[in-house]
Amino acid sequence: MAPDLRTKLGQVELPNPILTASGCAGAGRELAQFIDVSKIGAVVTKSVMLAPRAGRPTPRMVETPSGMLNAIGLQGPGIDAFLQRDLPWLLSRGARAVVSIAGSTVEEFAELAARLSDAPGVTAIEVNISCPNVEHRGQVFACDVTDSGSVVAAVRARTRRDIPVFAKLSPDVTDIVSIARSCVTAGADGLSMINTLLGMAIDTETMRPVLAGLTGGLSGPAIRPIAVRCIWQVREALPGVPIIGMGGVLTGRDALELILAGASMVSVGTATFHDPSATVRILRELEEELARRGIDRLSDVVGLAHEMRPAGRAAGSVV
């Protein structure tokens, strides 16, 4: 019998735990040429902002070992175009829409939440707090305990009760647990982790930085161990909080690793650039991985590694 892959995104039940990752799937339309977007757990949209945004100059991306750096700068058409064009399209295809929002002030986030609450069909909101806060000298919200909490509180207050709010955390912090706790205290129904890590590449031929924006976000399998660690730490500290895990998942096995660390959903990002049908492939592979281990329900393995410490480190065996 096929394993039961149903999972909970806050109060909302999803048929399976495989999602797209924000910024790696647009609003689903391009991927629909290769996959049935209604078959995956949800489409997490590219972060939507209030106003249209042109993004950063090119070059915007560079391949790195088992990963890539990107500095796109949140190019997008803004919330009006999203509500008019992208959201209705996703719903017409039977997809569940998790809308990622980004802003440069707390009020911008709150306004986006209100706009999305007025629109029918939003499954959840993912708050991309890895944006510079213009009211705090450009300090990234996600790197500050107070700012993270302020954004989440403002979004939660303006979001319809039945729409779960997830905060997307940056791993570029000293203590991710304190940020996670601040977001949950502020009303987050769950956490998404991890966003990209800040990185940089220099072309040794031209001796110049490769990216026009100098630095960029590192993603791909290169960062997966960091994702596993972050999910592990937060699950350990806040065991009841649902987690959407992401960070370099290329296969069903990789997804299972994040699930064992504590994620009850997994977003697939960079893998989609490599393989446009990665989400449905990973979903199939995850099902096989679970079936092969005789596991009937996905929920039985969420965070399971916390109960299965390495054998050599069991109590009494430490020298």
């Binding site: 790696c24 799937a25 647009g26 391009e30 991927l31 040429q33 290769f34 106003a51 249209p52 945004r53 042109a54 993004g55 950063r56 100059p57 090119t58 070059p59 915007r60 991306m61 391949e63 070992p65 088992s66 990963g67 890539m68 990107n70 796109i72 190019q75 997008g76 058409p77 803004g78 026009a212 791909g220 399998p221 960079t270 893998a271 989609t272 650039f273 490599h274 393989d275 446009p276 049908s277």
Partner: protein
């Protein structure tokens, strides 16, 4: 294409193709892959995005190549030309027949072809000429005449010189070192070729500086020009937003558009060549763009709209 083939606007496919041949032609590699669905849907100017490095690759970004040719044999083959410039293309060059290759395509907007039988000049730089030969076939089917102007640094880097000479009404070759054809670059002789061929439409593919100059000259002669740009791409399907460049829309507004899905073919005069690598201050969504637009409205590309014989 047979009448029961896919619709012309049928979308791209992801195919696990089988490599038929990998050949060296002068400075380049030419790979032919059995990929029936892609071959059937192809129109000149479109490209494929190829996964490199095999299973467990550390190279996650696809490599994008113009489709050089498709043939009906083996159910449908796709051919593309590449130059070894890094580890990904090195891996491709080392492939052998019968190995598998994951490719998506055909991607991007093809070259629009004229409704009327006009005189077309096809300008290629380096192996940027590779998509021009399938285009030439298509143009001749429409009753157009085709002249070629191909250039490169040296003779071994002019892709398709023989084919151009065999199939073109005329074929002019330029090389920087003078090892083949006229010494110089394509734009040195473009004016003369336009004059001799009484060119009505120009199609160009090659390095960005060449496309920029070809566009400038075409404007001087008031000839419409379609360019296929070589922007660095990552996904090839429109989701990563890597390959953007500033292009003026029919409404006069500049947008950062994706060369993979909104191009790679653009009307040359719509591309803001001087602003590539920047976000123009009046581009849609640039900080303060609306105020700037109100203060200094751009004329946009309207003055070139609706040219006869140049419908999309």
């Amino acid at each position: 294409m047979t009448s029961d083939g896919p619709e012309p606007d049928a979308g791209p496919l992801q195919v696990r193709g089988t490599i038929l041949t990998v050949r060296r032609i002068d400075a380049y590699h030419v790979m032919t892959v059995v990929a029936p669905g892609i071959a059937a849907r192809f129109r000149p100017g479109q490209f494929v995005a190829v996964a490199v490095g095999g299973q467990d690759t550390s190279m996650l970004l696809r490599r994008c190549f113009s489709i050089h040719d498709v043939r009906p044999d083996h159910g449908g083959t796709v051919e593309f030309v590449f130059s070894v410039v890094g580890r990904g293309t090195q891996w491709l060059a080392e492939r052998r027949p019968r190995e598998a290759l994951d490719l998506t395509g055909p991607l991007g907007r093809p070259f629009p072809v004229p409704r009327d039988p006009v005189s077309c000049l096809l300008v290629g730089g380096g192996y940027g000429s590779s998509p021009l030969f399938a285009l030439a076939d298509r143009l001749r089917e429409r009753g157009c005449t085709v002249d070629f102007l191909l250039g490169a640094a040296s003779g071994d880097k002019v892709f398709g010189a023989l084919t151009a000479r065999r199939t073109g009404r005329s074929a002019t070759i330029t090389t920087v070192d003078g090892s083949l054809g006229v010494r110089g670059i394509v734009t040195d002789v473009l004016g003369q070729v336009i004059h001799d061929a009484r060119t009505d439409v120009i199609y160009a593919c090659g390095p960005m500086p060449m496309l920029r100059q070809v566009t400038a000259l075409a404007r001087r002669y008031d000839i419409p020009v379609q360019v296929a740009v070589e922007e660095s791409m990552a996904c090839g399907i429109g989701v990563c937003m890597t390959c953007v460049l500033p292009v003026v829309g029919s409404d006069g507004i500049t947008r950062m558009v994706r060369s993979c899905v909104d191009g790679p073919v653009f009307r040359g005069e719509r591309v803001r060549w001087d602003d590539i690598g920047t976000i123009p201050l009046d581009a849609f969504g640039a900080p303060g763009w609306e105020q700037r637009r109100l203060r200094q409205p751009r004329p946009g590309g309207e003055h070139t709209a609706g040219r006869p014989g140049h419908g999309a």
